[in-house]
Symmetry: C2
C-alpha cells in the first residue's frame, strides 16, 4: 500500500481540458490529502488554472507537452501522432514507468484504450481490456462491464470479464465472494446466443471461490441490483449504460416540467425541495463518472469527455480508490489462482460440453 497515491492526469483530455481537469483535481485533493499529481499538457494553460488552487499546485508537478489527442482522432491516428509525445500518452507512460500509480484521462476513449493496451500490455490470460463502471442500483452499487471497450467476444472473453469484474467488486465493496450475472435477454438457460450460454456453463462449472455465479440477468435486473457484477460484451454493455442514462435524464426533465406546471405544484416543490435535492444528489450522473480499464498491467481511468470539474473529481476518486484497494494485485490473484483460473476455465468447459 503506497504512502502517497500518485495520480497522472491527462490535463488536455475531454471537451475543455485544463479548465475542467485542474479544478476537478483540486476537489479530489481536498477529499484525498494524501494524493499527489503529475499533470501532462500545455504548461501555460495548466499553470493559469493552478494559480487558483495553491494546495493543488503544491501537490503537483507539471510536465509540458504541445501534443494533444483530439476527441475525434481514430485510435490508429492517435497512436501515430500522439505516441511518446501527447499528454494522454505521457500520463500512461508515468504508470508504465512506476512514476504514477494510476492515470486518469477524459480524452478520446478509443485512443486511450489503444494507447493503454499498446504501452501497458494486457495481463497474462487477458486478450482484450474492458471498461468497468459503478452503477447505482436500488440496493446500492454494482460493477458493470464491458461498457464499450470492445465489441462481441467469445465465451472465454466473457469469463475473463466475470473474473476481472469479480475482483473489482470484491475490493471495492469489501465482499469476499461477490455475486456475478451475465447480461442476457432472458433468465432461462436456453436464452441468448451460443457464446453466452457457454460462458454460463463454464462459470457454473468453475464454481470459483472468489465469485458466486448466479446466472443470467435481464436489462432491468442491473438497476434492481440483481448481482454485484453484471457482465456483458461491450456493445450491449454500452447500449444498456446509455439507455439507462438517457432514461434518467428524460425522467428528470419530465419531473421538472410537472413541478413547474401550476402554482400548486410549484408550492409543492417548495415544501419538498429538500427531498428533491436529496433525489438530485442520489441521481447525480457525475457520481458515476469514471470507468476503470481492466485487464491491463496498470490502472487507467476514463472520465466522460463532457464532464464538469465535479464529475472529473469523481473519476479521480475512482482511480484513487482502485490504487488504495490494490485492484491489480487482486485481479492477478484471481487470474492466477491454482495456476490460472482462465486456463482452468477451458478444462471446465471441456468437461461439461
Amino acid at each position: 500500500m503506497p504512502q502517497k497515491v500518485r495520480i497522472a492526469l491527462d490535463a488536455m483530455g475531454g471537451d475543455v481540458g485544463a479548465s475542467v481537469v485542474i479544478p476537478g483535481a483540486a476537489i479530489a485533493l481536498r477529499r484525498h490529502p494524501d494524493a499527489e499529481f503529475l499533470l501532462y499538457g500545455n504548461s501555460k494553460l495548466i499553470d493559469e488554472q493552478l494559480a487558483k488552487y495553491p494546495a493543488l499546485k503544491a501537490a503537483s508537478r507539471v510536465v509540458h507537452t504541445d501534443v494533444t489527442v483530439a476527441m475525434h482522432d481514430k485510435p490508429s491516428q492517435a497512436l501515430r501522432r500522439g505516441r511518446k509525445s501527447s499528454s494522454m500518452w505521457l500520463a500512461i507512460d508515468a504508470v508504465k514507468k512506476g512514476e504514477a500509480h494510476v492515470a486518469v484521462s477524459a480524452g478520446n476513449t478509443g485512443a486511450l484504450m489503444a494507447m493503454a493496451r499498446f504501452h501497458l500490455h494486457t495481463m497474462p490470460g487477458i486478450d482484450r481490456p474492458a471498461i468497468a463502471g459503478v452503477w447505482p442500483t436500488a440496493r446500492g452499487e454494482s460493477v458493470v462491464l464491458d461498457l464499450g471497450a470492445s465489441i462481441g467476444g467469445d465465451h472465454h472473453h466473457l469469463v475473463a470479464l466475470a473474473v476481472m469484474g469479480g475482483a473489482m467488486a470484491s475490493v471495492l465493496f469489501g465482499k469476499p465472494r461477490p455475486t456475478v450475472g451475465l447480461l442476457n435477454i432472458g433468465v432461462e438457460e436456453v436464452k441468448g446466443g451460443e457464446e453466452i450460454r457457454k460462458a454460463s456453463e463454464q462459470l457454473r462449472a468453475m464454481n470459483l471461490p472468489e465469485l458466486e455465479y448466479i446466472g443470467f440477468v435481464e436489462g432491468d435486473g442491473i438497476g434492481m441490483g440483481a448481482a454485484d457484477v453484471i457482465v456483458s460484451e461491450g456493445f450491449s454493455g454500452n447500449i444498456a449504460l446509455k439507455a439507462a442514462e438517457g432514461t434518467a435524464r428524460q425522467m428528470a426533465d419530465f419531473l421538472r416540467q410537472a413541478m413547474a406546471a401550476s402554482w400548486m405544484s410549484r408550492i409543492g416543490y417548495l415544501f419538498a425541495r429538500k427531498a428533491f435535492k436529496a433525489l438530485r444528489d442520489k441521481l447525480d450522473p457525475n457520481k458515476s463518472n469514471g470507468g476503470v480499464l481492466l485487464g491491463l498491467k496498470g490502472v487507467v481511468v476514463k472520465s466522460h469527455g463532457g464532464t464538469n470539474a465535479e464529475g472529473f473529481a469523481y473519476a479521480v476518486d475512482v482511480g484513487y480508490e482502485m490504487v488504495r484497494c490494490d485492484l491489480l494485485t487482486k485481479i492477478n490473484q484471481m487470474l492466477n489462482r491454482d495456476g490460472s483460473a482462465l486456463a482452468q476455465a477451458q478444462t471446465a468447459q471441456e468437461a461439461v460440453s
Copy 2:
C-alpha cells in the same frame, strides 16, 4: 379498410390468462366500439369473465380449447404440443384464414414468434421477423425494433428492419418520410462492427423516398427522440428496452421514497399531487405495452406476460391501430417499391463497397 376490426385473442396467454385478457378486451372495446373479438381458450374460464362484461360478450365469439402453451415451454415444445390446438395457435390461425385482422397474445414470446413464423410465413425478402415497440421520448414517440425476436443479424437484416420500422412509423405517426437511425455505441462512421457500418452505408446509398436515414444513434438518443425509428438487432434492442424500463422503475421508487421522507416533503407531495399524477400517467409502463411482430404475412401483437387488464387493453389498441392504418399494405409497398427495395439494397451496397 375493414368496417369492423376483428381481433383474435389468446385468452389463456400471460401469467394469469382470462382474468386479465377478458377485462382488458372490455376496456379496449369501450375505446373502439367497432371491434369484434374471437376468444380462444378454456370456454368455462372465458365465460365466467364474459358474464361481467355484457357489451364484450355481445361483440365476441368464444372458441373452446383445452390446450395452452406454457410460459416456459421452449418454442420447439410449444410447436410440437400446441400446433393446431392451442389457444395461441388458434388465434394466429384465425389471422391466417382471414377470420381475424390481428391476433394478440400475452403468452410465451418465443412460442408466439415460432408459431406465427411457421404458420403465417415471412414476407418476401424478409428472413426473420422482428418485434417493434413504441417508445415514449422527450419529443413524442419513436418506433424501436428489434426488441428481442432474434439475436444478431447481418446488414441485410438491419436494412430490412429499417424498412419495416419506417413503414410502421409512417402509418402510426402519419409521417410520409420518418427519420431512421441505427443504434450504435457512437455516432462516428467508424463506430460499431462491420455489419452495422455496412447497413449504414447501404441505407445512405439507397436514399429511400419513404424514410430519411440519419446515421448512428447512441443508447441515450432513443429517449431524446433522435429519430422516429431506432433500429437494432434483437439482443441489444432488448437490453436497451429493459435497461430503460428498469431505470424508470428505479427512479419512480427513489422519488416515492424522497416524497415520503419528511412531513415537509409529504405536504409538498399533497400540493403537487396533480403534477405527480400527470407524471405517473406519462410514464405508465402499461401505455407502452404491445410489441408488433413485423415481417409476417399477418399482424400479430405481443403483450407483456405480466401485464394487468389496463396494459393488455393497450396491446389490443396497438393491434387495432395497426389494422386501421393498414400496416401490412404499407410494409409490402415499401418492400416492393420499384421491384424490391431490399433487392435494390443489395445493388446499392455493391455500388459503394
